[in-house]
Every structure is written in structure tokens, then in C-alpha cells.
Amino acid sequence: MIRAVDLRKSFGGKDGDAVEAVSGISVDVGRGEAFGFLGPNGAGKSSTMRMIAAVSPVTSGELRILGMDPAVDGPAIRGRIGVCPQEDTLDTELNVLDNLYIYGRYFGLPRAEVRQRCEELLEFVQLTEKAKSKVEDLSGGMKRRLTIARSLINRPDLLLLDEPTTGLDPQARHVVWDRLFRLKQQGVTLVLTTHYMDEAEQLCDRLVVMDKGLIVAEGSPAELIRTHSTREVAELRFGIGENETVAPKIEDLAERIEVLPDRILLYTQNGEEAIAKVHERGLDPAMSLVRRSSLEDVFLRLTGRTLVD
């Protein structure tokens, strides 16, 4: 469905001051797959998505969408994909149904056909009751669902979702996930970007972690945890300021140790065993717990804890 080889995207002048948002990435997405781009803000996820959506020209490298070259067959590609952009592009002064209807018409679908699809899709995203409401008056979650419904109006082979649940409350996120999960079951190929680990774990069969325009890791969520983290993490809290002094005494107990202001993380295959050894050495943490490694640990390890933006 998607094949990218050494794909790059720069913004700005042809002279030296250009910003390189995507610095040479290669990905392959197959039919029916749910594929994720995971990365912090500014990693280049949206820039990549916009190239895949055949709206933003590729700076260099090779890109094929549904076997076509976006530089040549842009309209044909866009006719067969669905796009849910990071920022809403709804006409907030029109009502829900009109937004959906006019969008269907952009694909050249006959009016009666579009009307019927609108009805089905409003049902699918649970907005039937809101059909006549102005978009302005919808909640963030409803707008996202409307955008998802809109992206499905041409019955796309490939659905692109750029941060589909950013800014939504937990209930709204779960409704969106539920809908996306159904689409996945129906065999729609999903490509999404996110910086939520739970979203990536729930929805993606395979994902890449992007940082500063590059792919830093690739695999299924389980594979990524296996490769880039340990099975378990022991979290220990000593008193304020004591964490730094304790750390050198226990760093040999784990494959990797991380000292945070409020706790120490021991990355290890067996957390209970590590904690027992800490006690053996006469150290007495105020609190300790063992948990399984998560995608979040992988993410933070690969992209760092420093804040971007």
C-alpha cells in the first residue's frame, strides 16, 4: 500500500536555511495492516503523513502510494485514500450533515449515493442525532468523529489518521478507538501517528518510532519492548535528595538504571529479585514496586526525557 525509500522533506529556501523535517525514512505498509508512526512533537510525523496523503511534494527519495507516484497521480491517489488531518478542517459554520455531504461531492460521487453514505457514516460514528447541528457547537470528540466519518466517504483503501485522539478526554478517545478498531477488523489499512503509547499498543500491528526526522526503531509493540527495554522495571523511592546517593550502590543490580528526581528505575528481567537484593544491601526504600516494561519505557529511552516544544 505504501512504500517509501529514503524519503526526505525539507521546508524553506533552496539555500542553506532549510529545515529538514524528514531526514531519510524507509517504510513498507501492507494491505490490511495497522501501522503507526510514534514520536514526540516535531519528529516529522505530520510532514510524513502529508507526503503520503499526496498533498505535500516529496523533497527526495522514492514514495509509492497504492502503487502510484504522488508527483504524477496525486488526484488518483487522493481519490482512494481517506485523510483525517491533525488539525480540524471542518467548515464550522455549516452543519454536520452538510460537511459530510459536500466532502463526498468533491470525489465526484453522485448526489444520491453521497446522501446514502452520509446516513450510514453518521450512524457509524454515532452522530445521527447531531446531523443538523452546527459544527461550531460540537465537542472536540464529536468533531474528530465527524472528521473520521468524512475521511471514509469515498470508501478508502487506505486511511491516514494524524493524531486522531490528541486533546480528547478519555471517554471520547475510547469511542474513537472503538471505531478505528472496527475499521481495522473490516480490513481497512490504517496508518496513524500518535504520541500516546496506549493508542499505539491498542491499535498498531507494527510501528516505527520517529525522532528528529529519523526512524529510531521499528517492530510490533511487543518486539519493541523486547528489543529496547527489559521485561520488568523496578521503581524505588528513597527520600528526597537521597536517590542520587543511593544509585551508585545499586547500579550493578540492573541492566540499566535511570535516576529521576523522585525515584530510581531499575530495568531488569526480574524485578522482585532486584528489590530483594536492594534490601540485602541494607537499603530501605520508602516505596518500591515492580511493573512490566511498557512501550512508554521504549519511547522515553529512544527519544529522551527532555521536553521538545
Binding site: V55, R80, E87
Partner: protein, 269 residues
Amino acid sequence: MATPVPLRTGPFDGAGRLVDYWATVYRRTWRGSVISSFLVPLLYIVAMGVLLGGFIKGDPAKLEGATSYLAFVAPGMLAAQSMTTVFGEVTYPVISMIKWQKVYFSMVATPLTVADIVLAQLGFVMFRVATVSAVFLAVMAPFGVFESWSGVVAAFFVQLLLGLAFATPIFAFTAFVMNENAFALIFRLGMIPLFLFSGAFFPITNLSAPMEWFARVTPLWHGVDLSRQLVLGRLDASSALVHVVYLAVLAAAGWWLTVRNLRRRLVET
């Protein structure tokens, strides 16, 4: 799952797909535009043409052949109204579609191209110019200020050309500056001086020589003079041809710039 979407069938097919969008927008906005588009021009006619004009002696030699001031000012108002209608349509609505609502971004995500979008929007602007012009001409008809009915019909089409000659350059400007503060500038330094000094309300020969020369190169004057020649039945073929060519060249150049500027905003990033 895959249902192929229809391929485009001709150069106007893409713009045709946007007709429903513009129809929806118009259904929502036409009531709000009634006062500014239909009523205000008529108030001008009553105030300036009938009441103020009552004090002005209708000397055809001084009024470019019009037998009354009302007959002189009516075609001028018609053309000026075409201009102001266009200014309203291709400034704030365009910037909203780029920057605030980002509706254009939803359009370019589909098989539509930037040229389709521009063409459809210009079509809508022409529709607006056509409706306000038709209403204006219909209301003016009973005043007996038109000398030539074929001229009136031709003047109607001149409004579309004039509208286009304003629409494309301003559309290009909006897409280029993307800054609503710049609109204050083109409204105050562009639209209002043109409105007052391009021969709509008085013959430009009344201006001082450099001002007259300046008025002659403004697009509104070309539209005003052509409209006036037509409705007064005093067509001068050679100057009319100059007017038409001037307006057509402006419209074409503006079209090229609009598509280029909007493409830079929407897809070449």
C-alpha cells in the same frame, strides 16, 4: 471495500464538484447579504442620483452624453458596486478558508486541485456579481435612464468581466499576504479612492491632469466607462475594445497569480 471514485471528465469537472459547497454556503449567507448587496446601492442611487442629482443640470456635453445626472451616475454605481461586491468576497472569506477554518485544506486532500478550487470560487464570485447587477439593473429600468436595451444586456456581462478583473488580483493578494491587517490598507487605499475617483460620480475630465491620467489607468474607470457607453447607447468601438482587453488581461494575470500563490499556501509546503 474499494469503490473506485469517478475520474474527472473535463476541465470544469473539478469545479463542478464544488458547486454544492458554494450552494450550501450561499443558502446560509444570502439573507445576511441582502442589505449590503441589494439595498445599499439603491440607497446611493436615491441619495446621490435622485436627490443630489436634482441640483445638477443635465448638460449632456458635460455628462459624457447622459441627459440627466441620474442617467450618468447609474452605470457608474453599477460598476462600482461590482467592484465592492468582489472586494468582500475575496478578502475575509478567503483568509478564513486558508487560516481560520482551513476549509481549503480539506479540499486539497481530495482529488480536487488548486485550480479547481480557484475556478469554483471565482464562479461563485461571478454569481454574486451577476445577482447584484441584475437586481440593480432591474430596479433602475423604470427610471428611464437606459438608452439602449442591448447595451444594458451587454453592460450586465461587462460587470462579470469587471468583477473578474478585480477578483483574481485581489484573491492573489489575499493568498499572498495572509494578513487581515493588510485588508484595511487595500480597502482604504484601494477600494475607497477607486470608488470615489474613477469616474463613477463625476466625469474624470473634472480632475486635474495628473489625477485624470491616474484615473484612466485604474480598472474601475475602464469598467465604468464601458458600462456607461453601453447603457447610454454611445458605444465607441475602439475605446471599448481597449477596455475589454485591459480588463481581460488583468483577469488572466490575476488568475495565474492566484493559482500560484494559493498553491504555495496549500500544497507546496
